[in-house]
Symmetry: C2
Subunit: 423 residues, 2 copies
Amino acid sequence: VTTSLTQLRIDRERLLSRLDALGEIGAIDGGGVCRLALTQIDGEGRDLVVSWMHDLGLRVEVDGVGNVVGTWPADRFDAPVMTGSHIDTVATGGRFDGNLGVLAGLEVLETVIRAGVETARPLAVAFFTNEEGARFAPDMLGSLVFAGGLPLEVALDTVAIDGAVLAEELDRVGYVGTLPCPARPPRAFVELHIEQGPILEAEGVTIGVVTGVQGISWHELVFSGQSNHAGTTPIDMRHDAALVAALTVVAVRRLTETTPGLVGTVGRIDLHPDLVNVVAARASITVDLRHADDDVLTEAERTILEQVGEMAAAEGVTFESSRLARFEPVTFDPAVVGLVEQVAVEHGHTARRLASGAGHDAQILARVCPAAMIFTPSVRGISHNPAEYTEPEDLEAGANVLLDVMLRLAGAGGDQSRGGDGS
Amino acid sequence: VTTSLTQLRIDRERLLSRLDALGEIGAIDGGGVCRLALTQIDGEGRDLVVSWMHDLGLRVEVDGVGNVVGTWPADRFDAPVMTGSHIDTVATGGRFDGNLGVLAGLEVLETVIRAGVETARPLAVAFFTNEEGARFAPDMLGSLVFAGGLPLEVALDTVAIDGAVLAEELDRVGYVGTLPCPARPPRAFVELHIEQGPILEAEGVTIGVVTGVQGISWHELVFSGQSNHAGTTPIDMRHDAALVAALTVVAVRRLTETTPGLVGTVGRIDLHPDLVNVVAARASITVDLRHADDDVLTEAERTILEQVGEMAAAEGVTFESSRLARFEPVTFDPAVVGLVEQVAVEHGHTARRLASGAGHDAQILARVCPAAMIFTPSVRGISHNPAEYTEPEDLEAGANVLLDVMLRLAGAGGDQSRGGDGS
C-alpha cells in the first residue's frame, strides 16, 4: 500500500446522509429505530442497503439465511478483506449500532472505487441476519450460520418471540439466497462499531482497539408455584413464583457486586396469571451474564443456579432452567488488533485497547479468519436506546481507520495477487 | 318464623346442577372458569342466571351498572332481605367463588317458593358487576355503585386492562338497566361464599361465621430507569427499573414477615422493553396489602413507599405510585353475625368466627344495611385457580344456613308486615 493510498479519506457527509436515510426506516419517537430482524421494516432497510450496493457496482450475493455480501470488484471471486455488521435493531434501538458498521463499510468501498484504487485482494461489505437476538434466538444467528457455527436448517426452523418461523419470514422479505453457507472464509474481517458503553467517552479516547469479546451466557428460568388468592392465603402457605423470580433478580445483582468484571442483567420478567390479587403461579425470567474469562463465567452460572435452587426450595416453588445462548470469550487476531492500533495512532487519534462487553458478528467471523474490531465512543455510554449517539467527527475517525486498515490488509496493486490465496 | 319453617332444606342436587351448568360457560382446562366481567362469556353467564330467575317468577331488575336483582314475591316493592354475590371470575378462576353465593341464593328462593312459604319481608337474590377487579378497577365496582360508594358515571367511564370502556361493554352484553343506583338499601344482606383460604379445612370446621373483612390496599408502582446494553454498561452506572421492582417484591414479603396479620402480594410485573439483553427502562408492578386493622394497613403502605423511595434513589430510578383501590376494614353487623352462628350451631355444624381475607360485595352492602357472611371450607385453601373445590356436603350445609338465616331475618307470615319498613 503506497503512502498515497493511506491518505485516502471517506466522505463524512455521504456517510451521515446514509445513516440518516436508513434511520428513517422503522424510526420511532426520540430518534430511535425499531427494525426487528426479518420484519417488513427490516426488509425495507435491506432493500435500501442493497440498492446502494448495486449503485456502487458491487456483486451482491445472498446466502440461505439472508446474509448479504457486496464485493468489489464484482468479478473477483477470491477471498476478500471483509467488513460489515448488521442492520436489525432491538425494539427500542438507536440509529448507529450495527448500521454504522455496514454503512461505513459501504463508504470505504465507495471511497476506494471513486479513487480508482486497485487492491491485491477484493473488498467486501456484509450485513448479517438477526444479530440482535431481539426477535429470534440466538443472537448473531446469521454470522453463526455464515461461519459454520449453526446448521442452516436449524436456523431456518427458529421460532420468533412473536411465533413466526425464520424461514417463512426470510421468504416473505425476499432474502432467501443461493450463496452457500457455511461460506468460504474471507481473507480477514474488521468491524467498526459504536462502543455501546461509557469507557471511551469517560477517558476522552477516540478509537477503541478491541482485543476481544466477553463471554455471554443467556438462560431462561421458569418458576412454577401455585396461584392462590392474595387476601386469604397465609404467607407461610404460599408458593409464590414471582417472589422467587424477584429474589433471583436481586441475587444476580449481588453476584456482580462480588465478582470483578462480571455483568449480569434480568431484562425479561413475565408472570402468570399476572393479576393484582392472585399469587403468581408461574414466573419466567431471562438471565444475561458476561465475563471476559470463561472460567469465571461458568462459575457465575453455577452460583446463580445454586442460589436459585435454594430460594425456590424455601418457597416450595420448582424451576426449570434452559440455556438460550452461550458464547465463549473471544480473543481477536493479535496482528489485526495491532494494525488497528497502529493506524489509529498514525491518524493522530487517541487509542485504547479494551474488550467488548457486547456480542458482535466479528467474534463469530474470528472462528474462520483473522478478525478485529474498531470502536468509536458512545455519548453517555447509551445504546439499545433511541438516545444512542456518536459525534460525527468520531464516526468519521472510525470509518477512516477502517478504510486504512482494510487497504493495508488487502494490499496494494491489482492483478499480481489475484488468486494468490487459493480457495 | 315457625319451627316448620326452620326445618326447610334446600335441594343439594339442584344447587350442584346449576353450579355445573354455570361452570360450563367460560370453562377452561383443569375444571376452572375464565369469565372476566362484561366479556361476551360473562354476558352468556348472566343470561343463564337471569333465565333461572325468570323461571322462578322473580321480578328481575337491572341497574345502570349492570347489577341484577331478582325479587320474590315479584309484586312486593318494600325492602327485601337480600343475598347474592357475583358471577364474574378472574382469568384462571374456579367454579365456586361468587357463583356459589348467587346460585345458593337462587336455591334459597326456589326452596321457599316451592314450599309455598310467605315471609314478612320480600326475599331477593342479586349478582353484582365486576366484583373481581380482574378486568376493571376497582374490584367490587358494581356493589360500590349499588351502595352509593362510587358515582355511576365514574364507573361507566372505567377502562379495562384490555382498553375497553365499561359503559360500552355493558351495552354490548345488554345489561344497561333502569333500576336507579345508588339503590334503595335492602332490609339486610347475607352472602354465602367459599372461604378461599385454608383455615376452616385445617381446623375441621364446616361453617365460617364471618365477623368482618380485612382492609385492602392496591397500589401500582411505575419505576423509570434507563434502558441500556446489558453487556457494556458497568453495574455501577445502571439505572435498572427491573432491579428496583424486584427489590420491592422482596420488601413486601419481608414486611409481611415482621407485621403480624399482614398479607402482601405482588401479582403483576411488566417490564419495558422486556428484552434479554437490554436493562429495563421501565417496570410496573402492583402491590396488594391487607390487614384487619386500618392503622396497621396504613402504616404498612407508608413503610413500603418509604423503602421503595430509598431503593429507587440508590439505583437512580424514579417512581410514581398510584392508588388503584383502598377499602377500609369492615365489621359486620353483630346481630346478623350472631344469627349466623346460632343457626349454624342449631343445624349441628361446627362453627368458627373469622375475618375474611378477601374482599366481598357484602362488605360494601354493610355500608347501607345490616350485613354478614357465611363461609364454607375450601379444599387446600385454593381459590382463584381451576383447582378451587368445596365438598358438596359443605355447599349444602352453607346453603341451608343461608336459607334459615334469611327466613329468620325476613320474619314469618305475609301481609301483616308489608310496608312495615317504609322507605
